[in-house]
Amino acid sequence: MTTKSIGEPIARVEDARLVTGQGRYADDLMPGALEMAVLRSPHAHARIVDIDLEAVLDLPGVHAVYTYDDLTGPMAEPLPLLIPHPTLTHGRTQYALAKDEVNYVGEAIAVVVADDRYIAEDAVGRILVSYEFLPPVVGIDKARAAEHLVHDDVPGNVAARMEQGFGDAAGAIAKAPHKLVLDIEVERSAATPMEGRGTVARWDRDLGRMSVWSSTQTSTGVRAAIASKLGLDLGQVDLVTPDVGGGFGVKIVHPWPEELLVPFAARALGRPVKFIEDRREHFISSAHERGQQQHIEVGFDEDGRVLGVDFRFWHDHGAYTPYGLIVPIITSTQFLGPYKIPNYHVVFESLYTNTVIVTPYRGAGRPQAVYAMERMLDAIAAHLGIDRTLVRERNFIQPDEFPYAHGEMSFQDGRPLVYDSGNYPELMAKAKALVGWEDFERFRDEARAEGRKVGIGIACYVEGTGVGPYEGGHVTIETSGKVKVSTGLTTQGQGHQTAFAQIVADELGARFEDVEVVTGDTRRSPYSVGTFASRAAVMSGSAIALAARKAKEKALRLAAQALEVDESDLEINDGVVSVKGAPGTSIDLGTLAVLSNPLRYAFDEASKAATQFVVGDPGKPPVPEGEEPGLEGKDFYSPMRSTFASGIHAVIVETDPDTAEIEILKYAVVHDCGTLINPRIVEGQIHGGVAQGVGGALYERMEYDESGQLLNASFMDFLIPYVTEIPKKIDIDHQVTPSPLNPLGIKGAGEAGVIPTAAAFASAIEDAEGITITSMPISPSQLFDLRLQAAADGTTNQEGTN
């Protein structure tokens, strides 16, 4: 019997390459390619009066300089608005190179292509641009006040106003025995993968083919954009995703201006061209996320049961809306979390500011949503003086209530918001046990006796994962017995080569070592969507499982013929098809691959065995009707709707009475991502997510000044956590309620670590300090200020609202 590999913590097959320096990231490709550097706007809002290229044109080593005036046809049109929505009435996107006006510091104005990056940057420094300054709109307050406009033709700086809900929230709140109002602020942060963006292109004049490598989360999306912008047939463009040094959402946006300008220049110059983003560029020209202002009104009963919620928020989406309304829509829907809210009304405005665009970063609107909901539930608990976990338990959707529909709400995919499965009370029980909720008061007393301040916090979330429309899988068995698998979505460190190989090994009955997986290569998988929203395992995992099943069916059919037995008597283990109970009667997958492809020409030993004189039933055509040559399986997975993972984080913090420093004493994660393909990889995803969550909760914020300059655009000043900021241990417990929506019961885990982290910290810090926390992140100096404020106002609550 083949040992099952799904569920096993198998070591990753990608690592041998990566630990020896043999990875191939964008900047490792195509040595000798010309390099591109970008002139970016130093002003947040200005009209471009003139661009003087005189000093650049005859610089040695410079091959080309492009501005908007050099773009024609589709390249001269605005970049695509990728996800339109009926309520996005005033969507705007930028041009590949700025036309007349710039709307954020970092917007691309011109590019230089030169022998190397040093020369290209020298040249960029010599371009003279004269500007007419316009008043910048920075921050949500300024955007809402709309004294100045980002885009002249967008009144009020409002791109979209969206309203949803069910029941009668206003009525329920009015009638409720208790009411609370909360105002919350969430700062901007960003994905900041260790590798920035990068694109390399080569135009082959002889074949009329454009080969592009891009550090992206969507191979097919970039390919389609390049083809359409450059006027090429889709079939002329190959997009290969090399090793990608992290994505976390920012690389799902496409096409970035450079993703078009690199192939544009490669074709014009007949030379390979490369663009590799540097760190400062990443801060000012790649997307940010998170920034929101929220206002919540809630009505509830004596037990803390929520009767109605009115949730209003203002979302800062930056200067343009290429990714539509995905982030605020997710906030507005995932706010509901694991709770039964009988009456709900949500309305948001998505606002323009003169800052870089805001598009999904790991969590994508959920950390904000969970922050709002969980702050609200903590406020209810404090108001009623009951345990915070009890308030949550009383509002949970119960295990027997699935599938659970939230009124008439629709989710980010436009489909009804229906949860497929889950068990939230059990998750809570596990979380309390893991963090030691019940023992905490004793611990607090002990700590207090030593003059220490500690607090415990908890936060729950539900995450819609695996959104459609589809992904595909292609499984090919070669005559060597090796199994080659391809799926179109891309990989940025999630270990897909390992996890997907585990699925194929199990489904097909092949040896894990014989399975090799390729992702994000449009030459192998031209139909695909991309890697985002924790969807890879759900979507491609399912598609690959279905494809492997098809390959298996064909293998069994061929084997039944060859061995002259009934298909139902056969099984496949370790790559060998044999008769159940008679393992001697067998044929291996490689031989079946030979038989599946009747040949005229023998070019090696395997093919000799497959010439048409050797194989097949003489009474039938060599390739029987309904069959195709080759031993392959191909399939697509397209779900009716998303699946919903869930989890709870709990944290114990200690706050320094003098410095207000926040130390993490314990961090516990309980989560349910359905079937685990590889627990080691899932736990790695959680560790990384928690680290990003800690960054978002305590350190990371984008500091714009009022003129729209990003003051902390470096790793020196934007504080992403080192090991010293991360809890020494992250306790993890899994719960498995498989999704009924897909063949393997997977739910997706990529964002589980990051979603409730800030909410859990706010809860814990509030518990330690007795000061209401309403903004994230919270730094020691802010906590210090809050203490002073509370002391002045006399508003410090009783400690220990637990």
Partner: protein
């Protein structure tokens, strides 16, 4: 603008001597990656904070993005490629990161590997806190460091096992 002035530079990398002709301003990280084709050394920030570009200069972890190639001439440089054994087998640090799932996207990894290789040379038996200290100057955005700390401890263990064997 006149053509940039070029200078001959001799670099000794992973025991091999290379002659290149580059501008005096050429960073060691670029020289290694683009002139010598040793692309294992990665560049994550170019301002000395992330540690992805860390190489060993006479055995000491050094940020290759903060050093000019011309300034590196008199030293023996080791990159991640040089950690691999001549027979192609993995060194204890490389093996440990692989064993402990100490990497995800792998972009920060070469900088951690060189740092830890030097670290366990200096302190062959680190405590967990010392292991954390050892890597406290390198950024990783994927792993949350948990498995990297485990990898450091495992690397020390593997290395100790090896020196025992050869003793």
């Amino acid at each position: 603008m006149p053509a940039p002035e070029l200078t001959d530079v001799t670099l000794t990398v992973n025991g091999v001597q290379h002659e290149i002709t580059v501008e005096p301003r050429r960073l060691l990280s670029d020289a290694l990656r683009h002139d010598l084709g040793l692309t294992g050394t990665h560049v994550g920030c170019e301002h000395g904070v992330c540690g992805a570009c860390t190489v060993l200069v006479d055995g000491k972890p050094t940020r290759a993005c903060l050093m000019f190639a011309v300034a590196a001439q008199d030293y023996a440089i080791t990159t991640v490629e040089g950690l691999t054994r001549p027979d192609g087998s993995l060194s204890p640090v490389q093996q440990a990161f692989k064993d402990c799932h100490g990497l995800q996207c792998g972009f920060c990894t070469p900088g951690f590997l060189t740092t830890v290789a030097a670290g366990i040379e200096e302190n062959p038996d680190p405590t967990e806190d010392e292991a954390r200290d050892m890597i406290a100057g390198n950024l990783c955005r994927c792993t949350g460091y948990q498995n990297i700390v485990a990898s450091v401890l495992r690397a020390a263990e593997l290395q100790a096992g090896e020196s025992e064997e050869s003793a």
